[in-house]
């Protein structure tokens, strides 16, 4: 066996991390409408109803209503009423009995987020604050400003481990598909949807598929998240969210203060 010359070996060793960390194009700091409300990219429905992600079907229906001149005489309150109506109807139409039970039991009293209980998979993946995507070679780290949390997405071709126990963000495996980043997540602990998405929640049988794509220059990051859950959903439940590239933005330290009971 022919040994590599020491100098060449050093060069190759130095290159290995770079080779392993092949860029996906999704690396960087990304900010949603709440952080960049004055950017001309955003539409009115983005900064009023989709800054923390929103159910895709009602979002598209609201956009279509706004595009139709026949609705120009409607007040915003009337348009919003129709949006909330379509959102509730959509979730109910795709929910199983168990899903409806969670939906009907969604109240402010059992909203964990007012008691410094950080978000589960769905709420955290679509949270309104900025995030950074960092490439570590065999995995991506999604670093969220919200709750200062991190999520790992393996991109080294591995399979899901056997006997996964449900955890807050589950176990995520990603791959590139024609320039898009597709992430499948399993082993997710049961949690609620964003309350303003109409309430409700999913079981620990849920599977999340996130399809991230890039468009435009400067780039816009879009995701369609599809949840399937044999326990709570009869059909897939899809969410949408967008971020803008904000390379100069620095993630800030988040902190939580429990809400006392007096108010």
């Amino acid at each position: 066996m022919k040994l590599m010359k020491p100098r060449l070996a050093i060069v190759v060793a130095a290159m290995l991390p770079c080779l392993a960390a092949a860029q996906t194009g999704f690396e960087g700091v990304w900010s949603g409408a709440m952080t960049t409300p004055n950017d001309e990219h955003w539409k009115v429905e983005d900064i009023t109803h989709c800054w923390a992600g929103c159910p895709l079907v009602p979002y598209q229906q609201l956009g279509a209503m706004l595009d139709d001149p026949a609705n120009d005489e409607l007040t915003w309150e009337e348009l919003e009423g129709r949006y909330y109506g379509s959102m509730a109807q959509h979730l109910r139409s795709i929910s199983t009995e168990a899903g409806l039970e969670i939906l009907n039991g969604s109240t402010d009293a059992n909203n964990p987020s007012i008691h410094c209980h950080d978000y589960g998979y769905m709420r955290q993946s679509l949270n309104p604050l900025p995030m950074a995507i960092i490439n570590n070679g065999d995995h991506l780290t999604f670093k969220y400003e919200e709750w200062n949390q991190e999520r790992t997405v393996y991109i080294d071709g591995r399979d899901f481990p056997a006997n996964m126990q449900p955890s807050q963000f589950g176990y995520s495996i990603g791959h590139m598909d024609n320039g898009d980043l597709v992430i499948e997540t399993r082993g997710i602990a049961a949690d609620i949807y964003n309350p303003f998405s109409g309430g409700g929640g999913y079981s620990d049988q849920v599977v999340g598929m996130e399809h991230y794509s890039l468009s435009g220059n400067p780039p816009v990051l879009s995701v369609v998240m599809t949840l399937t859950d044999p326990v709570t959903l009869k059909e897939p439940y899809r969410f949408h969210k967008e971020w803008l590239s904000t390379p100069d933005l620095v993630l800030l330290e988040d902190s939580c203060v429990d809400v006392p009971g007096e108010f």
Partner: protein, 140 residues
């Protein structure tokens, strides 16, 4: 017309903003109140900015109130530092009252600090949404 749209969009922006972390309180977004009180506690953390204060009502009685504003890191990017308000400060707040008329809660948007500075205390400005809606309907 613009004022009406702004008010209605304020409802949209703020109703979801209040649900960012907490749907515990809901506000009458078509009503606005201005309150002056003495601060008893100030918190700029998740779920939202919170100011607890004492207000003397029209009958001369002292009432306990709470004002809720925007998210911590959003406000930090809007030039808040967290040191603007301290216990004992007398401040004036404009915002929307709670739908629960028994609750002394206000969804605060604008604050006049003890030193006279005016601060915007919410996550998103409804004027921006009103502008976007008008542009959308002009179909430029």
């Amino acid at each position: 017309m613009k004022k009406t749209i702004t008010m209605l969009l304020a409802a949209a922006v703020s109703s979801v903003a209040s649900a960012h972390h907490s749907a515990a309180v809901f506000y009458k977004m078509d009503e606005e109140i201005t309150l002056t009180g003495k601060v008893t506690e100030f918190r700029m953390g998740n779920p939202h900015l919170r100011i607890y204060f004492d207000r003397v009502n029209e009958d001369g009685e002292t009432e306990k109130w709470m004002a809720e504003g925007g998210s911590r890191t959003v406000l930090l990017r809007h030039n808040w530092t967290g040191n603007e308000i301290k216990e004992g400060d007398v401040i004036t707040m404009t915002g929307n009252p709670s739908r629960d008329e028994d609750s002394n809660i206000v969804h605060v948007k604008d604050i006049i600090l003890a030193d006279g500075r005016e601060m915007f205390a919410e996550d998103l400005n409804p004027d921006n949404a009103a502008r976007l809606l008008e542009e959308r309907r002009r179909r430029d």
